[in-house]
Amino acid sequence: MALSEWVRESRKYILGTIILVLVLAFIPFIIGFDQYLLLILSTAAIFAVFVVAWNIIGGYAGQLDLGAFAYIALGGIVAAQLLVVYNITPWIGMFVGAGVSAVLAAAIGYPTFRFGIKEVWYALLTAALVVILNNIFHLPEVLGSLDHYLPPANGWYYLKFPVYENIYWFILAMLAIVVFINLWVSKSKVGYYLRAIREDELAAEALGIDVRKYKLEALVLYAAILGFMGYVYIVIAGTYSYHTFDSPHSIAIAIMGIIGGLGSIAGALTSAITLKVVEEYLRASIGATIPGIHLLIYGLLLIIIGIFKPDGLAGIYESLKKRRTSGRKKISGGGNP
């Protein structure tokens, strides 16, 4: 798809994204650079990046991937180790990490899609992948049982700072880029094909769509974005170890994607940022007396949405909009960005 065509088609959304990111970027000034709040915001923003990336494989291609942290941790640990062992800047390391995650995704995805594994089996396979990597990195020959730390040095060379605002702004810039990637996918031939695959694989294939190829492309793109952001995640987390291959958080990313509404970028953004901020708020306020209360709420939300509103937040928004404009003719671009 030509760039000019893409800009014309998505102008409204590009503008919206830029405004949203600018508003988010301005928040530190309002909260007086409160470091604790900035940590929460950074966490929410990086999860938003993860969920928007997940939207490519989960929302467009319709594959319930539960393995996000396989790629996040792998890419992040590769970049971190390059820095720790060889003093290679993460500006290079993150690209290497993205590449390694993409290669892993291709190696897993090729046979998986070749043999037609989907639905529950795909979900299980990706969930198992996180556990496998967790176990492998736990071996003493790999990372062992210890927590590993990034070098104490700070600065843009290390993409690591004594204060959170820089990394927060960096994540926001990445968020804008990942949203643009999504928009591009959504509006291009790939997006149409992925949605068709999600809706009906057999019918899609009969229309000449190479189902395996497009699913693999979606998976690799998703994994590369996650692998790239892995180092930033480690910077926020402070340490890395085999625990970075985190099953519950992998599932949480899929959950936020579903609550947002499959294939909806705005839904993914809203659900990730809201849920993560609410989560941190609840953890800070009543989390000490009732641990896990935020996750309990996730669970209930998921059940309610699954039963009553399978289209998620985006579906709720759509039906509200429809009620308001009923009677008027609806004009819309492609898909449901």
């Binding site: 319930l64 998986t112 529950v120 071996l139 996750l295 669970g299």
Partner: protein, 289 residues
């Protein structure tokens, strides 16, 4: 070179664990096979069952396995309740929605457990059965032997129920063709509710037996869920026998991984086998056809 007696011992231990896994996985296989529901919360029923067994054991100061007398019927009823509340509304929904709803259910269970009992593992401090017997260098836990024995008996009873009783016939007819079953006078919704109840009751039995030697925490269910699904994938819906063999294979794989690599890599071995299985034998090892 590994000590062959140690290896034999670990494999036997793995077989006993495998029997318990079969018992738990059979519940999942029934639910998936009969009503086509993708239940990601199955292991979390085991976890809740383990806490229930622990609470009752502490209250009455009996071995946790004894509490199965209460927890099994209790979970049968809880299972039917959960079915009516959460599962029935998503019957026939997209797989993704079913996964989402049952993952949500698992989250609710985990975090109720976390809120009530916190993250520290819980175990019964004075189990009667947690001692071992030895013969010829082989040492086996009595609790696991008993759990294995009860698992086999339960598997047989379910097999008998499925093949020899009228209800079993209704179950098999429903799982074979849920459009035709109602025409033959079968109340499909009732079959579903009871099947879900039985599946849940089996998790409570497995959990009570396991608590004779094991400990529980809010996340116990995650490995039970994944392992049960691995067993169902291997069993290929090949009936009770398929589940039994698959459970034994999983138990042994886990023991071998634990012995030859390291205990913390035991799940990786099972899941790697799962990858290969899905890729090369997607219909399972013991598929009926």
């Amino acid at each position: 070179m590994m000590d062959p007696i140690l290896v034999t011992n670990n494999v036997l231990d793995g077989l006993l664990m495998g029997l318990l896994y079969s018992l738990v996985a059979l519940g999942l296989a029934l639910i998936f096979g009969v009503m086509d529901i993708i239940n990601f919360a199955h292991g979390d029923f085991v976890m809740i069952g383990a806490y229930t067994a622990w609470l009752l054991a502490m209250a009455f100061w009996v071995d946790p396995s004894v509490t199965a007398i209460i927890t099994v019927p209790l979970f049968f009823i809880i299972g039917i309740g959960i079915y009516k509340l959460v599962i029935e509304p998503v019957l026939g929904a997209e797989p993704l929605i079913q996964i989402a709803v049952t993952v949500g259910l698992g989250y609710v269970f985990q975090n109720i457990a976390l809120a009530l009992w916190h993250a520290e593992p819980k175990s019964f401090p004075a189990p009667w059965l947690n001692f071992s017997i030895s013969a010829g260098g082989i040492t086996l836990s009595v609790a696991k032997l008993i759990a294995g024995g009860i698992s086999i008996i339960s598997l047989y009873l379910i097999h008998y129920m499925l093949t020899k009783t009228k209800f079993g016939l209704a179950v098999r007819a429903t799982s074979a063709n849920r459009e035709v079953a109602p025409l033959m006078g079968i109340n499909v919704k009732k079959v579903y509710a009871i099947t879900f109840g039985i599946g849940t009751a089996l998790t409570a039995l497995g959990a009570a037996l396991y608590m004779s030697w094991g400990q529980t925490n809010p996340y116990l269910g995650q490995s039970f869920s994944l392992l049960s699904w691995v067993i169902v994938a291997m069993g290929g819906l090949g009936g009770v026998i398929g589940v039994l063999y698959s459970g034994l294979i999983v138990g042994v794989l886990e023991a071998l991984g634990s012995t030859f690599i390291t205990p913390s890599a035991r799940l990786a071995v099972v899941y790697l086998a799962f990858f290969l299985l899905l890729w090369f034998r997607p219909r399972g090892l013991f598929a009926r056809r």
